[in-house]
Structure formats: C-alpha cells, structure tokens
C-alpha cells in the first residue's frame, strides 16, 4: 500500500515538474547550438538584397554565425546592438546581444564573429539572442598589416 502511494506521489511530482518546466521553459540558448550557416556579414546582406524571399526561407529562424567588421556598437539598457558591415554601405547586420553575454565591448573597426538567430531583414539583417564568439578579434591595424 505504502509503495503504491509512493509511486503515485512520485508520478504526480514528475508530471507537475514537466508542466512547470514547459511553462517556465528557458529561452533556447544559441550558446551550445551548432550554427546552421557560417557566413560573412557582407555575403548575408548581399543574399537578402538579391532575393529577400529566398534568403528568408534559407536563413530566418536559423542559428547563424556571422563574421564581419564592427561598424557601430549601441549600448541600450541591458542590451548591446552590434552592427556589422561596411561604413559606406547602407545595410549591415544588426545583432542584439544581452549584456551578460558581452565580456568586452567590441570597438568599431574590429572584425568579430557573432552567433545568433536570424529574424529576417529590415534595413539591416537582424540577428537576435546573439552571443559574441571568442576568437581572433583582429583589429583594423592588423588588417592593414595584412594588406
């Protein structure tokens, strides 16, 4: 009898836990997700410009790893918006990065890699829930050396 009670109680506990987990399910973190595509910022913008519908179907809702030059960093409350792209071009890739995922604020001109979920395009291609990837953040001087 006691055993039955224990079994029912533990089943109920598990079910409540599952229901609570679904309700309070945390946001999918791109941290441990493999990117569906690894692409340069300029190539991504170009693809959206050429055929927005096709690029939408290909990239929107997917985890992308984008590499490009930082054009601008906007710090807004607990959020950073890092815009990748050529300063002379109208469009770039706008990535929103939560403060807790930002160890060191990147500087304009640096080349960085960012992983995030593609939401589509407005003026810029928009990446959400993004994280900065550690790696060789080359700065402009470096690039000029290479040239």
């Amino acid at each position: 009898m006691k055993r039955v009670v224990v079994v029912i109680a533990s089943l109920a506990t598990v079910m409540i836990a599952i229901a609570l987990w679904l309700y309070f399910k945390p946001h999918a973190s791109v941290d441990d997700e493999e990117p569906a595509f690894t692409i340069s910022a300029s190539k991504l913008v170009e693809e959206f410009h050429q055929d927005e519908a096709a690029a939408d179907a290909r990239y929107t809702g997917k985890v992308l790893q984008v590499r490009g030059r930082v054009r601008e960093v906007i710090h807004d409350r607990d959020l950073y918006i890092v815009v990748l792209g050529d300063p002379d071009e109208m469009a770039g890739v706008s990535c929103s990065v939560q403060k807790e995922n930002m160890d060191a604020e990147p500087q304009a001109g640096q080349t960085v890699s960012i992983k995030g979920i593609c939401n589509g395009m407005l003026i810029d291609v928009v990446l959400d829930k993004a994280i900065m990837l550690p790696g060789p953040a080359t700065n402009q001087q470096h690039n000029e050396h290479k040239r």
């Binding site: 309700y23 807004d76 959020l79 918006i81 939401n119 407005l122 959400d128």
Partner: protein
C-alpha cells in the same frame, strides 16, 4: 568677392539644412503590455527601424515580429506561431505624418508634442491610427516616444478560448525612437 563668399555660405547652409531633414533610428524600441486576470505579459523589440522627415513630417517605421522578446520562451513561441503568424506576416509597419508639423521646428532644440496620423499594419491587416507623441530635440538627436492602445481583434489576431483569461483584448503599445541625422 564678398558676394561670392556670402553666396557660398548660403549654399553651404542650405546643403547642411537639407542633410539634417532626414533622421533615422535603426535600434528603436517597441514594446507591448497585456494585463489580464491570469497574468501580465510584456514583450520588447529593440531593433525597430524608423525614418523621420523633419521638414515634411513624414514618418515610416518597421519592425520584425520575431524580434519581440518575451520573458517566457513558451509565450514567444505561441506569439510567433499562433497569434501573429510571423512566418506569414514577418513585419509590422507604420506609415504616417506629423499633422502639426507646420507649427513645429524640429531643427531647433526643445520639447514638442507631435500629432501623428497614419496607418499601421500588423498581421497583414492595415488600420488607420491617430496618436500623440512627445519629441525632445537636443544634441543632434530627436527622441520621440508614444504610448497607445491597440485592440488585438482589429488585426484579426485570434486568441484561443483556453488562454483568453491570460491575454488582454487591448494591449498597451510603447514605441521609442532615438533619431540621428541620416
């Protein structure tokens, strides 16, 4: 010679003035707040885009529905998949005009109240809208903010019976743009 100099200065000023008439914000915020008996829900979008023409008063704004962040992942899923159908209608947009632009000079620093009339499109449905916004012009920026109500059913967004006590019929929308010269 002096005439030439004055002419050049005038042209220069005109060019500068024209360059200043278009303003843009690519990281505008839009949020909505739903207060219902069962729970309060807030979602925030920090990557809205807007362009303001300070001389004609024309305003356009656009945002991706998927960029609305919710505190709970499940709500974000329901919002995108069932309510606003982001796969079919990825963007919300606004197109309108500051109707009292004649009485306002946005090239001068100060606080202004803007009367705005236009059309808002959400979930593929376009509705006329009239709203009041505040604008603060200072340090080469125009900070504009508006709070207005939207009735969910006006945009053919269906809320299933099961969650009707969790979602308000009218949500409060707040938009804020920090325009910089384009």
């Amino acid at each position: 010679m002096r005439f030439l100099l004055v002419t050049l200065l005038c042209v220069h000023a005109a060019v500068l003035a024209r360059a200043q008439t278009k303003w843009i914000d690519r990281t505008g915020s839009a949020s909505f707040y739903s207060s219902a008996p069962m729970e309060d829900i807030k979602a925030q979008n920090n990557q809205a885009v807007s362009i303001l023409d300070a001389s004609s008063g024309e305003i356009v704004a656009s945002m991706l529905m998927r960029s609305f962040d919710f505190r709970k992942a499940l709500m974000e899923e329901h919002f995108n998949e069932n309510f606003v159908e982001s796969h079919k209608y990825p963007k919300a947009s606004f197109k309108g005009k500051v109707i009292n632009i004649d009485k306002i000079d946005l090239s001068r620093e100060g606080n202004y109240t803007l009367d705005i009339e236009g059309e808002i499109t959400i979930h593929g449905v376009t509705q006329p809208i009239r709203l009041e916004a505040t604008a603060v012009v200072a340090n080469e920026t125009i900070e504009a903010k508006a709070v207005f109500p939207l009735r969910v059913s006006d945009f053919k967004i269906e809320i299933p019976k099961l969650v009707r006590s969790n979602i308000a019929e009218v949500v409060e929308v707040t938009v804020a743009f920090n325009y910089k010269p384009m």
